[in-house]
Amino acid sequence: MNGGGWQRRWLAAHTALVYLFLYAPIAVLVVFSFNAARQTAFWQGFTLDWYRRLLDNALLFRSVRNSLLVAGLTTVAAVLLGTPAALALARHEFRGKRTTQALLYLPVIIPEVVLGAALVTFFGAVELRLSLWTVVIAHVVFSVSYVAIVVRARLAGLDPTLEEAARDLGASSFETFRRVTLPLAAPGILASALLVFTLSIDDYVITSFVAGVGATTLPLHIYSMLKVGVTPEVNAVSTLLLAGTILLIVIAHRLLQDPPATGDPK
């Protein structure tokens, strides 16, 4: 009996430590965004100055806007391209399926440096000028695979007889898709969208290769600050992004908790 109590306490302590390990750096980041000192090394008192200066820093602001724009467009495009691919792979048999599958997973495995170099060479070959659009294209390239993988995993766990039943009851294949498959796959699609958004917003390596004029994203901007030292402005902007992300996750969580009852998703 006593052993059980100890075990439970050990487990609790262990869990607490793991969470501390995961979240302490983030907590430090948030705390230091209110630090009066310019360096991240020591605490010199509370201030909101860095948030105020953020409003003043046009370049940093533009980089945040660029990052959000790229991540948003990438998410939409990747979901639109990746979901049909996942459907095809999960529900249909066709010639070359294995090859298609392998090719689809490749961007996940290839080192980012290689993908970045390949993309910039490709853009050079087709004379596509580097801009914010080339960043979006590059992000979609690696994101589609993630959507396909996540959505396919969700579809694989679903009962195919539900779709058969819908068709037996007279639904056209489009209706079946819209009223049965899509609502059931929705949590997977949403999860993949969140994943892709996150991957896109903090991608540095590939972006650094393909970003053109006016396309400096937040990670590029932060890295480029290293030469003169990262100021707490970056902590401030990271804190804001963090707050935004948490809000997004909370919303997503809420949405997922209400399973579509009879399936007429908006």
Binding site: F123, L128, R129, F209, G212, V213, T216, K227
Partner: protein, 347 residues
């Protein structure tokens, strides 16, 4: 399905519009690709107001980023700011274009000391913009006497409190300078002796670090740090009673960042206008006063804040600067240096 199609169409239209807009605006714009905090907003605003040309600034974190972008052939930058050694790589590859001196009447303002360097003899392709040094940042309260020599980094008394840059050329630079040699020494026997010094020094070194050295010094983790002047000047400025920076009397490494125009730049007129604007004494002084790096513009000197002019972390004394050297490409010797460095680090 229909909705998907519509969205796809909308996206396609958006993309094509985006292209058109950028093509039309091209003539009134100059695209600058530069290190962060290297161009005060005041300077950009002044140029835009005078010429009506919009300045678009993108930032990078390494010279290699500039190389990669220019090699792609599809980057639309009109001005780039590569460091000395990178100019030497860009010019032979034809990635930056020859500068037309006739279009830069304010060229005469530049300090001859920074012109005609080995990386671009005659400055046919580049103009010096800002420069800096490698030296020693130290905690005044923790060291025994004022630091003025690389010897301090090899001093037993400071064992465990020394930081060295994690950079083969800088580490060898310190040892070679202390031996009275050039940082671009190629004699294998001399290099081996320098390596022996660095090996013996390793016991004293707390950490080799090239990215966070100023913060570690400011936090008190080390008392002596080899480092680049810009970052160290920043922490010294916050704690001038406690910290200081010095370029050792033997001299250190010198770096120069340069303005250049990529080959195929689309806004050539705007690029020349911008560079010449930067060469004006008033602008050059505003840049130095804003970014706290030393400028290569001699005519701007009287207009620079007194505090900056007298800061040895930014402008080292003339006789020390005379002993500073640019890092040059050593060709095959670098391989030997790398091997020795690996030996030192792996010890």
């Amino acid at each position: 399905m229909k909705r998907f199609f519509l969205i796809a169409c909308a996206a396609a239209i958006l993309v094509s519009c985006g292209d058109k807009i950028s093509v039309e605006v091209v003539r009134k714009e100059v695209n600058v690709y530069i290190w962060t905090n290297y161009l005060p907003r005041e300077v950009i605003a002044g140029f835009e107001k005078r010429t009506g040309i919009r300045v678009s600034v993108d930032t990078y974190d390494s010279n290699e980023a500039v190389l990669a972008k220019l090699q792609s052939g599809v980057a639309d930058y009109d001005i780039v700011v590569p460091s000395d050694y990178m100019v030497k790589i860009l010019v032979p590859q034809g990635l930056v274009q020859p500068l037309d001196r006739a279009r830069l009447p304010h060229f005469k303002n530049l300090d001859p000391r920074f012109l005609n360097q080995a990386y671009d003899p005659g400055n046919g392709h580049s103009l010096p913009y800002l420069w800096g040094t490698t030296g020693i940042g130290y905690d005044k309260r923790k060291v025994k006497e004022p630091i003025d020599s690389w010897q301090a980094l090899f001093d037993e008394r400071y064992a465990g409190r020394i930081l060295m840059l994690d950079d083969v050329r800088e580490a060898f630079g310190a040892a070679l300078k202390l031996m009275g040699k050039s940082i671009n020494e190629t004699d294998p026997a001399t290099l081996r002796r320098a390596a022996a010094m660095l090996k013996a020094q390793k016991r004293l070194v707390r950490t080799y670090n090239s990215s966070d050295f100023a913060n570690l010094l400011a936090a008190g983790d080390v008392d002596l740090a080899q480092g680049y002047n810009g970052e160290i000047a920043e922490v010294v400025g916050n704690a001038p009673d406690r910290l200081a920076y010095v370029v050792p009397k033997e001299g250190g490494t010198l770096w120069i960042d340069n303005l250049a125009i990529p080959k195929g730049a689309r806004n050539l007129d705007a690029a020349y206008a911008f560079i010449d604007y930067v060469l004006e004494p008033e602008t050059a002084a505003k840049i130095v006063n804003g970014v706290h790096y030393a400028g290569a513009n001699r005519a701007a000197w009287p207009l620079i804040d007194d505090k900056i002019r007298r800061d040895p972390a930014i402008y080292p004394p003339e006789e020390v600067l005379d002993r500073c050297e640019l890092i040059e490409d050593l060709g095959k010797t670098l391989q030997l240096m790398d091997e020795l460095w690996t030996e030192i680090k792996a010890q």
